[in-house]
Amino acid sequence: MISGNLGLPKTEPLFRVSGFSVEYDAAGGDVVSALRGVDLEIAQGKTLGVLGESGSGKSSLALALMRLLPRNARIAAGKIQHQGRNIAEFTSKQLREMRGAEVALISQEPALALNPVLALGKQMVDVLKAHTALSRDQLSVRSLEMLREVGFEDPERIMRAYPHQLSGGQRQRVAIAQALVCRPQLLIADEPLSSLDLVTQAEIVELLQRLKRDLNLAMLFITHHAGVLASLADHVLVMREGEVMAQGSLDALQRSADPYLQGLLSPERNLVEAAKAAGPNAAARTLLQVRGLGKKFVQQHMLSRRKFVVQSLDGINLELHEGGTVAVLGRSGSGKSTLARCIAGFETPDAGEILFGAAKRRPPRLVQMIFQDAATSLNPRFTARQIVAEPLEIARWKTEIERTARALELMEEVGLDSDSASRLAGEFSGGQRQRLALARALAAEPKLLILDEAFSGLDLPLQAQMVRLLMELQSRHGLTYLYISHDLNFIQPWAQEVVVMEAGKIVERVAPSQLAQSRHPATRALLAASERLRVPGREVTA
């Protein structure tokens, strides 16, 4: 049943977690500890922000609150009380009554959070049905109301639609509507933004802020992005390796001198010094020129003569200078990845040309690319040494022994322990894998590195570390970067020029310092979104 916010003494929090520890049985009989002695309270109508890197145990916390931990997880110590009752002792009926009606969960991947084969309306109505005794008409009225509340103007159409017919942002809205349709007191949001692009992220944050106010909703907001919490959280809990390492208001935390906290809260700060060391380099020679580049993709349906032409690139002109960094910004689908693949030589453009210095022919290994997904850019059957030495092996560079020595050297250079050279690619973490990919690219001794959303899968502090490493490498080896991104993080201290793309065209070129004054709508949308997700009061200047 839907229970209102009445009748509870003010002293009793919605959830009280005390001394809570969770362990996972991992491969080979190992026990991995995910949470260690966590204490926290979630009060009525308040938002608790949980900040931490991936692997810090924050998702386990979210699942534990709903008793949804996977089967190989075990509660090692402590308890979770929901309004004074220990949830470990709940019967399955009591659990069902709590889930969805009193506590609701929205998770990382809105695309994966909705059943792909059921109409959205049915999925909404079923939640209501499970917790109320409303009539058929009332069910649909309530669902429509809720969809309108999360910002849909034509909720009838959404009710009939299936998840694949909506965009990522719309799906997350539906997931939120579904979670809140029974008016729960607490919403647990587990990294609800990480798979959305910047502009959509800002929209969802705004929505959550409004719902929180209108519905007097308590929230547990889990993220690795401190900026999001600035406008949402009343109280922030910082987690590290399963433990609560600090808590307080975001302002108070920012005043802390702890370097780990600093890295987590404002990752960009560390970059300023590195940028100064690198120094301006824009007067250098032209490395590469792109002239009037165009690329079309033709899609044809089986047995149907109709062809669809997608203009992915249209009249792109771009110049890259040695030792410089150019950032290409744009929302997903703007053609920025196609541009990267054309320059890297993985796609053949239909129009225009790419000039390398004066030569039209591509000098071997001059351009290297770091891919978005580190997991698929490394062969899982290769060891770290084999991965890094691969370009050398292909180029038949010296002997096997010298190649190995060089590979170890490169691993050290990108900050990896050369003792781990015989481990397989899959045994490294996401950030380490991206470093391996970087070391491999460096082995080819390129002049230009293309970073195609290379960090978007990483937590912000890790991203900052990578950018810092790249800046150091730039000043040491005179590398040129083409940095492709959908957000504005790290652009300020790093890039000399920002190029904004939309629908296959370059719509604006601007120096990073002038970005804030831009008038173009595409740029303004990116700026506005980034503003909303920024930690205030700590502006970073180059």
Partner: protein, 322 residues
Amino acid sequence: MIRYLARRIIHGALLLLGVSILMFVLLQAARGEYLSDLKLNAQISPETLAGLRSQYGLDQPLPVRYWKWIKSSARGDFGYSFAYNTAASTLLWPRARNTLLLTVPAVLISWLIALPLGVLAAGSRNGWVDRVFSFGTSTLLALPDVLIALMALLIALKSGLFPVGGMTSVAAHDQSWWAWLGDVAWHMILPIAALVIGLLTMVLRHVRTSVREVLESTYMRAAEGHGLPRMKLLFRYALPAAANPLISLFGLSVALLLSVSLLIEIVMSWPGMGPLLLESILSRDLFVVIGAVMLSTVFLLLGNLLADILLYAFDPRIRRQA
């Protein structure tokens, strides 16, 4: 919907064409044919033989023979049976009907049992249920089909409760229509049971695996987080989401069943396509062989078409593509 189905039907027709061409190429490679056995017969003169050959068109080149066969198939004859001196179709149709009489109920029964059982097994969190299920199904899966058929026959012989082989009792012709029907049904029980055993375990295992996979997905956890009742989660949320691979499996299961049925029919003397195929192979009656293969392919394609329709009904993503 109609365009989607039309596309599937055209695809199936092209496949049938491909199968028939393959069959004729193989036929050409065949060294023996029905008439070559007659050569050994001293009472038939070489002239008669040559006459017969040209009468049946066996002296003509392959493309011509193929074209003739296509024309004959378009009439519904499927070529000529040398052994029975009649159109191949007159032999094939009644046999095909009898084969369907076994396979259609067997497919339905297997799926009707396997679906709920597999979903429940997938949803079970009890280690013992898991172990018993795994052990039981993998043992059943390892039973060779021949053994299942022979065991069914043995049961019929030993117990005396079931008729031994065939489709009707000898005296059945004199009886009323209803009695005849009961008699046939009585004969059907054991072969169908053998078929179901052959098919059920495979389907059961696949249902459990597919549903398990879905149960581990984020959206199932989300649905559980919304407090939906367990049976609703399993049957209304997980099962439809697992439908896509299962419906493809439905097409495959029809293929498997046709193959198993071939064997069971032979062992249990059920007058289906199996015994006919074996008999015509031994007597080198090759058009009947080709006809049987083509017919079995048609059944399979019909099964696949049914699967396509189900897929269209169940999966909104397919509907968009169509």
